[in-house]
């Protein structure tokens, strides 16, 4: 139980500032990015009319998310598609990463979901300003009455909290439950089932939910 709260860090000083990097999270994130790059290269190399398994997986992902993005944003171009599809692939791999022994899910570290949440927040607000102009963007905050301005700001900010803590709470919660149950049953029978439930099942759902909410936040800003 105690090892969940200890975070392995690389600490060094740079120009008088103390900088701490979460080593385990960083290493796992880079490994996941490597896997994604290799997958994308293999899937798109030598594309054929009759696809090989990797190519059909990539095609399935792309068509599904292309439909979802088109549905939600109703734009002619595909400018948000790479963000949304890439985010889902990354988060899916992050969440199921812990099934492989000795690897740790980067999403178990609050910094990963929070970083992605802030990313989505900034992108959605930037899109809002770009599509509606600064005036149209700001007007929303004074609706329905100008008095509501501070509350609207708080409710916008709480979206970042809710989206990132949802992912973190689910992945971290799964990890805690797996550790406790494994200790209780001396790692017999149950833990593999729990790993499948929390890793594959909950992980996939939460990766999808995070991606869809980012998409929805963008769509509410540009409309």
């Amino acid at each position: 139980m105690e090892d969940l709260t200890t975070i392995s860090q690389w600490v060094f000083t740079l120009g008088g500032y103390k900088i701490a990097l979460n080593s385990v999270t960083l290493i796992n994130t880079w490994m996941i990015m490597g896997v994604l790059v290799i997958f994308s290269l293999l899937a798109t190399r030598r594309t054929k009319l009759v696809p090989n398994p990797l190519q059909s997986l990539a095609e399935l992902l792309i068509t599904t998310f292309d439909d979802l993005v088109r549905d939600a944003l109703e734009l002619d171009d595909r400018r948000y598609f790479p963000l949304i599809c890439g985010m889902f692939m990354f988060l899916f791999l992050c969440n199921v990463w812990g099934i492989i022994p000795t690897f740790e899910e980067p999403t178990k570290d609050l910094n990963t979901p929070l970083g992605l949440g802030i990313l989505g927040f900034v992108i959605s607000h930037y899109s809002g300003i770009k599509f509606k102009g600064l005036k149209g963007y700001l007007r929303v905050y004074f609706e329905p009455i100008p008095f509501m301005f501070p509350l609207n700001i708080v409710s916008e900010l709480s979206r970042v909290v809710s989206i990132s803590f949802r992912l973190y709470g689910n992945i971290m919660g799964g990890a805690i439950i797996i550790i406790v149950v494994s200790n209780l049953v001396y790692s017999l029978v149950l833990p593999p089932f729990l790993n499948v439930f929390f890793g594959l099942f909950v992980g996939t759902i939460q990766a999808f939910v995070f991606t869809m909410l980012t998409l929805v936040y963008i769509s509410t800003q540009i409309k």
Binding site: E2, S155, S162, F165, I177
Partner: protein
């Protein structure tokens, strides 16, 4: 003195165990009965589909029961394990039981809605039987997330070592941590169930809408879950912030107030957002062309209904950090 503290810790653990499974059994009982009721109706409408309906009912009830099983695990741990003998641990154990008990209440009731509606849908539209079962599995599993948050907080309360902290404000902080997540999970659990139930009705009415209904259901459920996440956030802050020992009880009162504020404030918005999701999803099947508009309206409505839980969170944060 040492013996008395030991008795206190044991007593608190037993009390917590009783509250955990006692409250936890309420939700699952209601949810499972609701499912069985709908299954009976479905079978009488289409007796030749009795086998499918029965199978679906049993799967749905098993899922609705998982919240009560979480509560059972916590209760068994509280009864059987040996804990450190000091006063703050006693408070933490009682809080763990209360957190899990309240936390299992909502998800148990909530998971009954999709299961019941799926049984009804199978008799209405037998061809969709497998997609109804699959979507029900996803919807009911998402309902359990708020119970999982409560279980996580309960486990943290039971297994972390709080003995070095001063009793006066810190015991109140731990108790408030249990209340915050436990109470806030009630509303979210019911709300998520309502939303999933709406999705089942839409799939039974309009089998082609499975993909869209599932996506909208997950978004709706995610938003209905937000109060429970705020509750979890407040609990985490309360669990990890160590207060210096104090003479007066004013900090302790403020911390208890913070837990109650977030916990009680989360109940209504959770159910309300769920109702918004239920109706949006229910009508999605009747008017599939405007699915995007319905989902957007649902989100706006949910965001407004959610604002009261955000006020509760703001007050809780003020009570924790300012007072």
């Amino acid at each position: 003195m040492a013996l008395e503290v030991q008795i206190l810790v044991k007593g608190a653990a037993y009390l917590g165990a009783g509250v955990a499974i006692g409250l936890g059994a309420i939700g699952a009982g209601v949810g499972e009965g609701y499912t069985a009721g709908f299954a009976n109706r479905a079978i009488s409408m289409k007796p030749e589909k009795a086998g499918d309906v029965l199978k679906n009912m049993l799967i749905g009830q098993a899922l609705a029961e998982s919240a009560a099983i979480f509560a059972l695990v916590i209760a068994m741990l509280l009864v059987l394990m040996e804990f450190q003998a000091n006063a703050i641990t006693a408070v933490a154990l009682a809080a763990a039981g209360i957190c899990m008990g309240f936390g299992a209440l909502g998800p148990g009731i909530g998971a009954g809605f999709p299961a019941g509606r799926a049984c009804e849908g199978i008799s209405r539209q037998p061809a969709t039987s497998s997609s109804l079962s699959n979507t029900m599995l996803v919807g009911s599993a998402v309902c359990q997330t708020s119970a999982i948050y409560s279980m996580v907080v309960a486990l943290m309360l039971m297994f972390f070592d709080y003995s070095t902290r001063a009793f006066n404000p810190n015991a109140a902080a731990l108790f408030a941590a249990g209340l915050s997540t436990g109470l806030a999970a009630i509303g979210s659990g019911i709300g998520e169930g309502l939303t999933a139930g709406g999705a089942m009705q839409t799939i039974a009415r309009q089998p082609t809408s499975v993909g869209r209904a599932t996506a909208s259901m997950l978004i709706g459920q995610a938003v209905a879950e937000t109060p429970a996440i705020f509750g979890l956030l407040i609990s985490m802050i309360l669990l990890f912030r160590v207060y210096p020992g104090a003479e007066s009880v004013i900090t302790a009162a403020a911390l208890l107030g913070a837990g109650l504020s977030m916990g009680l404030g989360g109940i209504g918005p959770g159910i309300g957002s769920g109702a918004a999701g239920e109706y949006a999803l229910n009508w999605l099947g009747r008017n599939e062309e405007i699915g995007g508009l319905l989902t957007r309206t649902m989100l706006v409505g949910q965001a407004v209904s959610q604002s009261t839980s955000i006020y509760a969170m703001v007050i809780a944060l003020v009570l924790i950090f300012v007072v």
